[in-house]
């Protein structure tokens, strides 16, 4: 077993991996950029090394700096988390060359899966069902036109190197194809440095369901059940759950066996996820394979009772899978909310800043994987994911109820978060009835926000509380905060000049 693991990441996932290391008696090495000195992962680690400027290219994406820290600290393995270098085959190769074990698949398996077009070619050979379309990049507009006509509109254009919805265009009719192709190409070039775009039949309002797989380095591959990830905003997942409400044991076995075939065709090892699109008739199509630990892995952990990070580390250390497929038993239901520092009242713009007050939920069936703490300033340089709140119960109804209750206990003050969005989602009748697809959230957000009927006495409560806080003065205030009585030079009712300027800027 490894003695020391370097975690090439930050935020909640770095904390998650450090915890697993400590549970396994392994020493954890953190790296941090200049704005992350005060971050939680540095506090929790056994050793911590600065790796430079805030820009990810200067720090968390800098292969040489991270390998230098691995050498200096004597780490014998590197866990990449998700994002950053986690799906970078060059990094996996550089780790192997430096004699440090990369906790994840081999560079060759990543190469096979990294490009969506190449993955498709490999999957065609393995007999995996996928959405009709081209397995190769489009060479010309004429070729795109011909392919679209053959598979039938609507079609989806996708970047071969894509992810996160970048370089994607939905095309309803032939006359839209040309500008969509140009748009997808230039966006793909800008986002990934690769303008390769391919075409697929668009499946409207599909479900997005993914299968967790785990493969050891001795040829054993298992699937750990699916996750329903249909609740997305701009192709980013927002709520995930396991199991999927529409997958029955037969469908699970079919999807699981396909996922295992996908992994084996790529010579895959360690934890990975095979993503499927599922249409209204429950046909499933291979979408892509994510060659890393997923953000939403906790829902699978809760319903399988397994610790995926422990297993990743054991597999990387050369151990065999400690169980067989038949021994994987799903139990209960888990739902995850991704808590982001973003402003629901301002088009979900990122909202960095200092967390002045943090009240944490707990109690039965609640798991919280977090990278924040009270007094910490959320830097503006990275993904705004702050924490994940996961509810677990014997069934979907109980998991939803527990999560709703925990969301009401959760309070993050000083910055804006999307916690209110989850209250809205979880109380929606269609969500409760599990009538969800990838268009659900856009439809919900288009509806006027119905204010929850509040206790009519709540305003009185607010008035009285404001008065009491005023009487208490600084005694009632958190550290470094000013008392509530407004003694600013500015008239309290008039917006500041800055606000007026900012509003003008925003409406320009």
């Amino acid at each position: 077993m490894f003695k020391k693991i370097l975690i090439a990441n930050r935020g909640e996932i770095a904390v998650r991996v450090i915890r697993a290391c400590h549970e396994m008696g392994i020493s954890a090495v953190a790296v941090y950029s200049d704005v992350d000195r005060a971050s939680l992962h540095v506090r929790k680690a056994d050793e911590a090394y600065p790796i430079g400027a805030p820009a990810a290219s200067e720090s968390y994406l800098n292969i040489q700096k991270i390998l230098d820290v691995a050498a200096r600290s004597g780490a014998d393995a590197i866990h990449p988390g998700y994002g950053f270098l986690s799906e970078n085959a060059k990094f996996a190769r550089a780790c192997a060359d430096a004699g440090v074990k990369f906790i994840g698949p081999t560079a060759a398996a990543m190469d096979a899966m990294g490009s969506k077009t190449r993955a498709r070619q490999a999957m065609e050979r393995a007999g995996v069902p996928f959405v009709p379309g081209t397995s190769r990049g489009l060479e010309s507009f004429e070729q795109a036109e011909e392919a679209a006509a053959r598979i039938g509109y609507p079609v989806m254009l996708k970047a071969a190197a894509g992810g996160g919805g970048k370089g994607m265009r939905l095309v309803h009719a032939p006359e839209e194809l040309k500008s969509a192709l140009e748009g997808a190409r230039s966006e793909a070039e800008r986002s990934f440095g690769d303008s390769e775009v391919y075409i697929e039949k668009a499946i409207l309002n599909p479900r997005h369901i993914e299968m967790q797989v785990l493969a050891d380095e001795h040829g054993n591959t298992v699937y750990l059940g699916e996750r329903e990830c249909s609740l997305q905003r701009r192709h980013q997942k927002v709520v995930e759950e396991a199991p999927s409400p529409i997958v029955d044991p037969d469908m699970r076995r079919e999807m699981g066996e396909v996922a295992v075939r996908v992994a084996q065709a790529a010579g895959y090892t360690n934890a990975g996820t095979v993503e499927f699109l599922v249409d209204q008739q429950k046909n499933f199509y291979f979408l892509e394979m994510n060659t890393r630990l997923q953000v939403e892995h906790p829902v699978t952990e809760l319903i399988t009772g397994l610790d995926l990070v422990h297993l990743q580390i054991r597999i990387a250390a050369g151990e065999r899978l400690p169980f067989t497929q038949d021994e994987v038993i799903l139990r209960g239901h888990a739902i995850e909310c991704r808590i982001y520092a973003e402003d629901p009242d301002n088009n979900y713009f990122p909202s960095p800043g200092k967390i002045t007050l943090l009240l944490l939920p707990s109690g039965p069936g609640i798991r919280r994987d977090s990278g924040m703490y009270e007094g910490w300033t959320v830097p503006m340089d990275y993904d705004p994911l702050l924490a994940k709140l996961i509810g677990y119960g014997t069934d979907r109804e109980q998991a939803t109820a527990r999560l709703t209750r925990a969301l009401n206990e959760y309070f993050v003050g000083g910055i804006k978060t999307n916690i209110s969005l989850f209250r809205r989602i979880l109380s929606d009748p269609d969500f409760r009835a599990a009538k969800i697809d990838t268009g659900f959230l856009d439809r919900l957000l288009k509806q006027p926000r119905v204010e929850v009927a509040t206790d009519p006495g709540a305003v009185d409560v607010a008035v009285i509380a404001a008065g009491i806080f005023a009487v208490l003065g600084s005694a009632g205030a958190g550290a470094n905060e000013r008392p509530v009585v407004n003694d600013n030079v500015n008239k309290p009712n008039a917006p500041s000049n800055w606000k007026i300027a900012a509003q003008k800027e925003a409406t320009r």
């Binding site: 990122p350 200092k354 000083g414 409560v461 404001a466 806080f469 009487v471 208490l472 000013r482």
Partner: protein, 164 residues
Amino acid sequence: MTYDIAIDGKNYRLDLNRQEGGWSCRLDGREVEVDAVLARPDVLSLRIGNQAYEVKCERVGGDLHLWVGSVRFAAEVRDPRSLRGRVRAVDDHGPKKLTAPMPGKIVRVLVRQGDAVETGAGVLVVEAMKMQNEIKSPKKGTIQKILVSEGAAVNAGDVLAIVE
């Protein structure tokens, strides 16, 4: 103590006095039975009659919000007496602090310590979410101190400079 309190723009008058370890409270002249415990800074456990509430206080820059359960109210609190006092206080005497209106980065410092500035003269430029905002001098005077340098990240409410 008497306060004028605006909640989401609507005004209320609150008379609030401590008495025998508790509070006496009149809201717009109506007597209300109040029992309050400060659970921790910025968190109040409140009983109005026998109804129990947890109220959170959020202060960012000059803005005050109160959360009753999961509902957020914008609040402004004025002490009518200090309002009169403040009229006198709004003058050009004494040092004035320039604070950051929201978290961001200092992209330019436009003056040097000791410089004379006019009212409304630009002192610093703060960038947040790709918007640049000039922080202006609230008075005519001299830059007594600049507390940040170009490139520094600041939080809402941080003091950036002092004009004397």
